[in-house]
Amino acid sequence: MIRQLAGALALLVAAAGVALCLGTPYVAPHQLPAALTGDGLEAVILTELRLPRLVLAVTAGACLGAAGLVLQEALRNPLAVPEMIGVSSGAALGVAAPLVLALSVPAAAQPLLALGGAVFGGVLTLVAAGFGRSPSAVLLTGAAVSAALQAGLLVLMVLADQLDLQLIYRYLLGSLSARTWDDVVGLGPWLLVAVPALVLCAPVLGVLRLGDDDARALGVRVRWARFGALALAIVLIAPVVAVCGPVAWVGFLAPQLARRIRPGSEALSLLPWSALCGALVVLCADQPARLALAPVETPVGAWTALLGVPAGVALMRIRRDRPSRQASEGSDVMVGGGR
């Protein structure tokens, strides 16, 4: 436990170091403290550009990771991720629509728009799939809902003119470029709501894991619990999407990594790990996004999608091929097997 924590934190620190040092201008690691406290060009770049970006990456990743774990546990399905159940696309649609239709929206209202879209997408999926009776039904429904929302987005893109199009496209893939302290501060109030709710919610997730019938026998209202979990996930996801776009598949990969690190633990103890892994994933993916094709920035979401999906699938399959541990866990209801 301690060893894993130390390892993860070391990785986080290393990635943060890369985030602060590399780029133009290059700042050597031993100059960091001086540059951070000094004044001059390097100090401005560090404190006004790289540091907020770093903080934002960590925060966004932690939110997405935690939200992914909540959804996966609530629907007992390793593939129940924001991308697959219409939450992400809904939120993105909520943000992109005013952009194209040239409605001016105050920045503070953007999370609300994203929230509306996310609620719409998520609730649509849950209701259409009958509150997650069978995990795979939820997924297919979610895929359908997502596709429909994506179609809406694409229609918007067809309507947009070239300049808007570039902007929207970047946003839709999830990008951390040119984000400032304002964006980071904007996330604050939402986190104040979400974090206590997470802590309150976690024990119920542990009960849901047992299966619907057992949870009912223990006095949990399964449907309401699912709705609550979805609401919580939406509150975590929507502000992140509003600020940096739907960074893809972090909510899928982070919980898988967390389970890999801490096999057989409770939902409550997995949550911080999942958040940590999410932060790590986004921070690590943001480095190639910044540097790989310099001076052109690539969206971080493209990297997380490219690397995250294969990695997550690989992790899932490894876990499936070792059923000995799953029997005691009971969390590993495989896709299509939750009956």
């Binding site: 991308e83 994506q150 179609a151």
Partner: protein, 316 residues
Amino acid sequence: MFAGRSPSAGQVWDVLTGQADSTARHIVLQLRVPRALVALGAGASLGLAGLLLQSALRNPLAGPEVTGVTPGAVLGAVTATGLGLAGWESPAAVVVAACLGGFTGAGLLWLLAGRRKSDPEETAVYGVLVSAVLAGLTSMVLLVAPGELGSVVQWLIGSTEGRVWEHWALLWPWALAWGVASCALAAPLTLLRCGDEQATAAGLAVGRARGAALVGAVALTAGAVSAVGALGFVGLLVPHLALAVFGADLRTTLPGAALIGAVVVCGADAAAQVLSRLLVEGLGAERMTVPAGALTTCVGAVLLLVVARRHGAGQV
């Protein structure tokens, strides 16, 4: 055909009976007729491809969109366009690239889910994942070559805007050849639908028949994608309609699926044009065009929910 902005339906009739002025004739013969034909051809290809996939994989939820074939084909076409190997001037190269991409997508899915006997829903889920990866790749390519973005977005969703005789000339031999080849597979595929054991007992080389069907499906999808882009959910849902209408004997249902697909896409195109017109009149926006793919995707999503629920209910 009759749903465009101008000329009106009456004028179209005049053109077809050969008594109209040259502008109207040009619009109808050079723009609308090929557009309708391309829509018909692409729809037929997609319907066929979907039924082939569903029969070969014995999976009611298989379709070109969720088995990675369509996203792969789009990726191939976009990559070729982005690298400057192909453009609107050389549509043949786009078809080849789309084919390669389609095979890549299908191959990826096969690597993930095909080797073990997996249940239909699991395969569908893996297909969605594969599609997600391919879509991620596509977006990377688009970012490297942003100049193409505007024209490619039309493709990502599927649209019949501005299709002319050249597209038709390219599409119909391809679609016809593969379509006939697929219909020749009808009898073995009907056996395949009954299950591998029965098919083997009846003396069918299961692996070979399945492979042939998959090749046909990918080729048809690639042709359709290179012509009109990724029309959502047509290939997934048309087969269900076809089976409901024509029954389970593929010898009649395969052509039936082609027919229904053609009608569906053409209808979606017409509906999209009517919608665009209403929007233009309603909002006064000049550039409003609703792509046909948006319609098929939205309607298809609803239908997919119905299908998934029906199949899910059968298993719970």
